[in-house]
C-alpha cells in the first residue's frame, strides 16, 4: 500500500459533534435508568407508568437520533467539500 493517505474530509469543527454526542448519550443512558420508571402510577389509558414511559422513549430517541443525523451529515458535507477544495487547489499550483 504505497498510495499516500489523501484526506477524504477536512478538519472537523467540534460543535456539531459535541451536541450530537450529548443527544445520543441521553438517548442511551436515560432509558436504562430503571429505578426512575419502575413504578405503576400514574397510569395512562390504563397502562402502568413503567410501560407507557418506555414506549414514549421510542419516539424521543428517534427524534434525538434524527437531530444528530442532520447536524452530523451537514458537518460531514462541509468537511468533504473543504477536502475537495484543498485537493483542487493543490492540483492548480
Amino acid at each position: 500500500m504505497s498510495s499516500p493517505d489523501v484526506p477524504t474530509r477536512g478538519p472537523a469543527r467540534p460543535g456539531p459533534y459535541i451536541v450530537a454526542g450529548i443527544l445520543l448519550a441521553i438517548a442511551i443512558l436515560v432509558p436504562l435508568l430503571v429505578p426512575a420508571y419502575s413504578i405503576d402510577q400514574p397510569r395512562f389509558a390504563g397502562m402502568p407508568f413503567f410501560y407507557w414511559y418506555q414506549m414514549l422513549w421510542v419516539p424521543i430517541t428517534a427524534g434525538m437520533v434524527g437531530v444528530s443525523y442532520r447536524l452530523v451529515t451537514k458537518e460531514d458535507r462541509r468537511r468533504r467539500e473543504a477536502a475537495r477544495g484543498a485537493r483542487i487547489e493543490e492540483q492548480e499550483q
Partner: protein, 565 residues
C-alpha cells in the same frame, strides 16, 4: 410447492383452519415468486450475480427505503415476534419487555458505530466484520475467531426462525404428535423454497420480501392493538389480569410466577439485558450485511432515526402477551403440553375472523423467511471470505467466491433445518442464548478497531478467549428452577456479589480488562503489531470517494495484512 397438497395429519383437538391456511399458503406462494423475481431486480449489468458484492450484498446500492424494510425484517425476526410476547405471557417484564429499552438504546449505538464501519468496508471491499478485523489488525487468528463466532452464533438464530414458522403451522392445525415426518413436511417445503430463491437471488430476495412482510406485520399489529383492548375491556383489564397472574405464587418455585413491574432486585438484570443485547446486535453478521448493503455512508444513520418505528410495534406486540393472559388464550402444543410460543398465533386465531388471522400468521411465517435468508447469506459470506479464501484458497476470484458462498448458504440452512427437526427445540434456544453471549465478545476487536489501534491483536484474542470461556461456564451454571436443566437463562450474579446481571455484559467486561492489560504488557514486551492496511481517511470515506478495490485485488489481504498470526 403448495402446502395444500401435503396430506394433513391432525389430532382431534387441533382442527385445520382451512380459510386461514389458504391465506397463508397464497401469501407464501406470492412471496416465493417475488423471491425468484428478485434476481432481476436492479441486477448488475456486467457481472450478473457472480460476485459477493452482487449476490451477498445486493450490489451495495440499497437506499434509505429498501434499507429500512431490509433491516426491519432482518432485526425484528419472527422469533422475536413469537418469543417476546411469549416471555411476557409466561414471566412478565424482565424477560420480555426489556426488548423495548433494548431496541431504543440500539439506535444511538448504531448511529455512532456503523457509518465508520461502512466507510472503511466500502473503501476496501470488506464484506464481513471479520474482513475488517483482518485488514485492521493483520492477525489471522483474530480474523478466524471473529468469523467463527459469527457463524456459530448465527446458526441457532436461523434455527429459531424455523421455530417461529413451526409455531404458526402448529396453530394452523398442520402437524401431528404421532408422525414426525408429516409434522415437519410443511416446514421442510417452506425451507427448500427459501433455500432455492436465496441461492438464485442472494440478498435481493429478502430485501424485496421484507417489504411485503413488514406491511403485513404492521397491519396485523395495528389492528390487534386497537381491536383487542376494546374487546377485553380496555388496557386496565388487560394489565389487571396480567398482574394477577404474574404476582401469583408459583407452586414449583415458591416465588411469584413473574415480574409485573421490576423491583430493586431486578434493576440491574433489566438494564444490562437491554444494553448488552443492543451492543451485541450489530456484531451479528446478518446486521453487518444489512449495513454494508447500503448505498452511502449516511444511509444507516438516517435509518437509525426511522427504524425505531419497529420498536414501537415490538412494544405493542409484547403487550399482546398480556392481552393473551386476559383473553385466557391456551397455547397447547401437539403433545398436550403448554408451549408459550404459541400464544400470539393462538391469540390471533381465537379472536379474529379466519382470513385476518391468516394474514397475521402469514406475516409471522414470512417474517421468519427474511432473516433466515439474510443470516444464511451472512454466515456463508463469513465462511467464504474468512475461512475459504483466507485459509484455503487465497487466490479465489470474485466468481469463485460467489459460487462458494451460494453453496455455503445452502449448507447453513439445511444444518439449521436438521438442528430443529432432529434436536429438541430447547437446544436451539440454549444455543441462541449462548450465541448472544459469544457474539458480544467480538465487540472489542470490531468496535475499538473502528476508532483506535491501541489494543494489541493478541491481547484482543486473549480477551475474546476469556470472555467466551467465562460466558459459557456462567450460562451453563444457570439452572432452570422448574426443570433443573442447565442453560436455564441468561442472568447470573456478578462473581463475588449478589447483583444479578446479563452474563454477556460481565463476560464483555472481563474481555475488555484482559485485552487492555495484555495490550500494555505486550507493548512493553515490544511484541510485533500486525500490518494495518486501513488509513485514517478510510473511516470517513463516502460513496463518491475512490475505492482501494483495485489495489486490494493486486495485493490481497492474505499478503498485505493477514499473513502472520
Amino acid at each position: 410447492m403448495s402446502m395444500l397438497a401435503v396430506p394433513m395429519a391432525t389430532t382431534a383437538d387441533r382442527p385445520v383452519n382451512g380459510v386461514a391456511l389458504t391465506v397463508v399458503v397464497v401469501l407464501f406462494i406470492l412471496v416465493a415468486v417475488l423471491g425468484f423475481f428478485a434476481a432481476r431486480w436492479r441486477a448488475g449489468k456486467e457481472t450478473g450475480l457472480h460476485s459477493l458484492d452482487e449476490w451477498g450484498l445486493g450490489g451495495r446500492g440499497f437506499g434509505t427505503w429498501v434499507t429500512w424494510f431490509l433491516l426491519g425484517g432482518d432485526l425484528y425476526t419472527a422469533y422475536t415476534f413469537v418469543a417476546v410476547p411469549a416471555a411476557m405471557w409466561a414471566t412478565g417484564a424482565v424477560s420480555g419487555f426489556f426488548a423495548v429499552p433494548y431496541t431504543i438504546v440500539l439506535y444511538p449505538i448504531v448511529f455512532l458505530l456503523m457509518s465508520r464501519l461502512w466507510s472503511v468496508s466500502h473503501r476496501h471491499g470488506f464484506v464481513t466484520p471479520a474482513d475488517f478485523v483482518g485488514g485492521r489488525y493483520g492477525s489471522r487468528a483474530l480474523t478466524v475467531a471473529v468469523a467463527l463466532t459469527g457463524i456459530v452464533a448465527t446458526m441457532p438464530y436461523i434455527a429459531l426462525q424455523l421455530v417461529g414458522i413451526k409455531a404458526v403451522l402448529t396453530v394452523l392445525g398442520l402437524g401431528s404428535a404421532q408422525n414426525v415426518l408429516l409434522t415437519d413436511l410443511p416446514l421442510i417445503i417452506a425451507f427448500v423454497v427459501l433455500a432455492a430463491y436465496t441461492y438464485t437471488s442472494g440478498l435481493r430476495a429478502p430485501a424485496l420480501i421484507a417489504v411485503v412482510k413488514d406491511l403485513l406485520i404492521y397491519l396485523a399489529v395495528i389492528v390487534a392493538v386497537i381491536y383487542l383492548p376494546i374487546k377485553f375491556g380496555g388496557w386496565d383489564n388487560i394489565f389487571g389480569a396480567a398482574q394477577t397472574k404474574l404476582d401469583a405464587i408459583s407452586p414449583a418455585t415458591g416465588k411469584p410466577t413473574g415480574v409485573f413491574i421490576p423491583g430493586a432486585a431486578s434493576y440491574s438484570a433489566y438494564w444490562t439485558l437491554a444494553l448488552g443485547s443492543a451492543m451485541a446486535l450489530f456484531m451479528y453478521p446478518h446486521s453487518v450485511t444489512g449495513v454494508l448493503a447500503t448505498k452511502s455512508r449516511n444511509t444507516i444513520r438516517k435509518n437509525a432515526a426511522v427504524l425505531p418505528l419497529y420498536s414501537l410495534m415490538l412494544g405493542f406486540l409484547a403487550l399482546l402477551g398480556y392481552a393473551a393472559i386476559s383473553a385466557g388464550t391456551k397455547p397447547i402444543d401437539l403433545n398436550g403440553a403448554v408451549n408459550p410460543q404459541l400464544v400470539v398465533p393462538q391469540l390471533f386465531l381465537d379472536n379474529f375472523p379466519a382470513w385476518f388471522a391468516g394474514i397475521a400468521l402469514a406475516a409471522i411465517a414470512i417474517g421468519a423467511l427474511v432473516p433466515a435468508a439474510i443470516m444464511s447469506i451472512a454466515a456463508a459470506n463469513l465462511f467464504t471470505r474468512n475461512i475459504y479464501r483466507d485459509l484455503i484458497r487465497p487466490d479465489a476470484d470474485p466468481r469463485q467466491e460467489a459460487k462458494v458462498s451460494k453453496i455455503a448458504s445452502l449448507v447453513v440452512k439445511f444444518g439449521a433445518l436438521i438442528f430443529v427437526i432432529a434436536m429438541d427445540q430447547s437446544a436451539a434456544i440454549n444455543m441462541q442464548l449462548l450465541g448472544g453471549i459469544w457474539i458480544l465478545q467480538t465487540f472489542p476487536a470490531i468496535v475499538a478497531g473502528l476508532y483506535t489501534r491501541w489494543f494489541h491483536r493478541w491481547a484482543l484474542f486473549a480477551g475474546w478467549t476469556a470472555g467466551i470461556i467465562y460466558g459459557t461456564i456462567a450460562a451453563y451454571n444457570v439452572v432452570n428452577p422448574v426443570t433443573k436443566a442447565n442453560f436455564g437463562g441468561s442472568i447470573a450474579a456478578i462473581p463475588g456479589t449478589n447483583v444479578q446481571v446479563y452474563i454477556a455484559v460481565v463476560a464483555f467486561a472481563i474481555n475488555l480488562i484482559v485485552a487492555a492489560v495484555l495490550s500494555l504488557v505486550f507493548r512493553a514486551m515490544k511484541l510485533p503489531d500486525g500490518k494495518d492496511i486501513t488509513r485514517n481517511s478510510d473511516y470517513g470515506a463516502d460513496e463518491d470517494d475512490p475505492k482501494v478495490a483495485e489495489l486490494q485485488r493486486e495485493y490481497p489481504l492474505g499478503e498485505t495484512g493477514g499473513g502472520t498470526f
